[in-house]
């Protein structure tokens, strides 16, 4: 087969997958760009009339009586809260995930596969059901409260469900495996000769960890943090079930505009602002993770 026809046939083989994703994955993203500058229709959907209203609404509230605009931080607060929760989740996941991944990577090879399987199973199992499981445990009459009362740690059930604590716990529980797996991939490749050299030069365990292990696994740390931060920022299921609809995050705020809010353009604008935040995070990743993977 000639070179040119080989290239052509390989392009043709890739075409169906690319076409399906372009048509039903990329095109919809362009649709929401257009929708975000249209007028909302009364019962959901859009009226084809161009207006920057959706973006103005994000920062300003229109007075119903005299139509003047007042600056409002309502939506900024929800976005800031989501960012804060996502960052907090990332930090706690890292604090728990790094020692776990390190421990896994230093097990004998036979044991490692079992550890990976144990972390992989929650990675793929149904997020809705895992969140429900958390809900059943932290309810007022759930096992956690029963246990604490049995311990005499608390006199009566403490309210956790439908609070910010519940949401952060849920996010942490949902995305912990997303942190452990990339960290493990990075730590598994760690060259322990460098650790040995550190000890030979009279470093303490803490110094070896801080000055050798952590810098060498930076790509894994960044990849894991991103894999937790991005989905946590757009989380929908967690605030829906554990926040009880009262403690909004970006994810359920967006969905609300398509449901009871009946303001599709506003929802599209919020989705695009979220997308911009994700792109900034990805850009940060590309800038920090490329070109400095190899040291040893």
């Amino acid at each position: 087969m000639s070179e040119a026809s080989d290239i052509r046939s390989r392009q043709l083989l890739t075409l169906p997958a690319v076409a399906v994703i372009t048509l039903f994955g990329v095109l919809p993203l362009l649709v929401i760009v257009v929708y975000s500058v249209l007028k909302p229709a009364t019962y959901g959907g859009v009226v084809w009339q161009v207006t920057p209203q959706a973006y103005v609404n994000f920062l300003f509230q229109q007075d119903i009586i005299d139509d003047t605009l007042h600056f409002t931080t309502d939506y900024l607060q929800i976005f800031a809260r989501s960012t804060l929760f996502a960052a907090l989740t990332t930090v706690v996941c890292l604090a728990l995930g790094f020692p776990t991944a390190y421990f896994m990577a230093t097990r004998p090879p036979g044991q490692r596969n079992w550890w990976i399987l144990l972390i992989t199973i929650p990675f793929w199992t149904n997020l809705l059901i895992r969140t429900l499981a958390v809900m059943l445990i932290i309810r007022d009459e759930g096992l956690l409260n029963d246990f604490l009362i049995w311990l005499h740690a608390i006199p009566k059930p403490i309210v956790i469900l439908y609070t910010d604590t519940a949401i952060v716990l849920g996010l942490l529980y949902s995305y912990l495996p997303f942190m452990v797996l990339p960290l493990y991939a990075s730590l598994e490749k760690l060259d322990f000769r460098l650790v040995e050299a550190g000890f030979d030069l009279y470093a303490t365990r803490g110094q070896v960890l801080r000055r050798i292990v952590l810098p060498l696994t930076k790509p894994g740390i960044i990849a894991g943090s991103l894999l937790v931060f991005i989905p946590a920022l757009g989380a929908y299921v967690t605030p829906l079930i554990l926040g009880g609809g009262r403690h909004l995050l970006i994810g359920d705020l967006i969905a609300q505009q398509f449901g009871s809010g009946r303001n599709w353009p506003f929802g599209c604008a919020q989705a695009l602002i979220l997308m911009a935040m994700v792109l900034v995070a990805l850009w940060f990743y590309v800038r920090n993770a490329t070109g400095r993977v190899q040291h040893g």
Partner: protein, 279 residues
């Protein structure tokens, strides 16, 4: 250099890999990850109708769940969507993976690779509202609706990259020697693909298909926003049950779904691992 690496430290009993307390944190993580799921599963076998007070072992809630007409209808919808999306995504991903590995990149391959991986980068809630808006536009402009096909198309899109990854990984472990040998023996490209490449690639394809099936089977966010009336899938059905008092029937339904997910993840994992054991 390699000798240095394999020489063990002499006698001191000093383990240079050990970090104190890390094992305890690892155990804590496993507990955090598994305790809620285990509690959910245990209470699906509870004899009374409370999800938090144990009163004896019973399988009766599974009977109730499996004879629940809503659950049954949702299971049928889910299987229709997941199996179709799995087959479509696996075929498309296999073709793309064969074309984008093991040889010099063709013009446009970088862009194709980016498009294929795009569904992994976009947060689910954005994909969900975008797909919803897109199908609403199709309905408004062209009166076009594929019914449950809307969901199948949406699922196929995000299943493709999940099927693509393991297939591509498997291909990168295979060199082209056998395919060249087949061509030397006058096999047509199609015969070479069917008799040489495909059998060698089978573990990658099964692993990818299993992952595609799970992500479709478990999807809640995108399905919830895109689904029309009567297109209830299992996760949506379980969500709708939350509005009434919770009984262990819900635990039983969740356990059934968890069982399916765990089965497919383990299968995918074991297939991929056997590949590493005997290349």
């Amino acid at each position: 250099m390699a000798e240095v690496a394999t020489t063990p430290l002499p006698n001191t009993g000093f383990d240079l890999r050990r970090q104190p307390g890390f094992g305890a944190v690892a155990m804590l993580c496993l507990t955090i990850l598994y305790a809620p799921i285990l509690v959910l599963i245990v209470y699906s076998f509870n004899a009374n109708d409370l999800v938090t007070r144990w009163s004896g072992f019973s399988m009766s809630w599974y009977g109730t769940a499996l004879t629940n007409a809503g659950f049954y209808a949702a299971a049928r919808n889910t299987l229709t969507i997941s199996l179709t999306a799995m087959v479509a995504a696996t075929i498309l991903a296999t073709l793309a993976a064969v074309a984008t590995t093991r040889r010099a990149p063709f013009p446009g391959q970088g862009a194709a690779y980016m498009v294929i991986n795009l569904p992994l980068m976009v947060p689910e809630i954005i994909t969900a509202v975008a797909t919803l808006s897109f199908f609403a536009l199709l309905a408004q402009w062209f009166g076009l609706s594929f019914g449950i096909g809307n969901l199948i198309l949406a699922h196929t899109v995000f299943c493709i990259p999940f099927a693509y990854m393991p297939i591509r990984a498997r291909l990168e472990d295979m060199d082209l020697t056998l395919e060249h040998a087949a061509a030397d023996l006058y096999a047509t490209p199609w015969a070479t693909f069917r008799r040489v490449t495909l059998p060698l690639l089978a573990p990658g394809i099964s692993s990818g298909a299993a992952l595609a099936f799970i992500v479709s089977f478990d999807d809640f966010t995108i399905t919830q926003l895109v689904a029309g009336p009567g297109q209830t899938t299992l996760p949506i059905f379980i969500w709708s049950q939350l509005r009434r008092p919770i009984t262990p029937e819900l635990n039983a339904m969740c356990t059934i779904l968890l069982g399916v997910s765990i089965l497919f993840v383990s299968l995918s994992f074991l297939i991929a691992n056997r590949r590493k054991a005997n290349p």
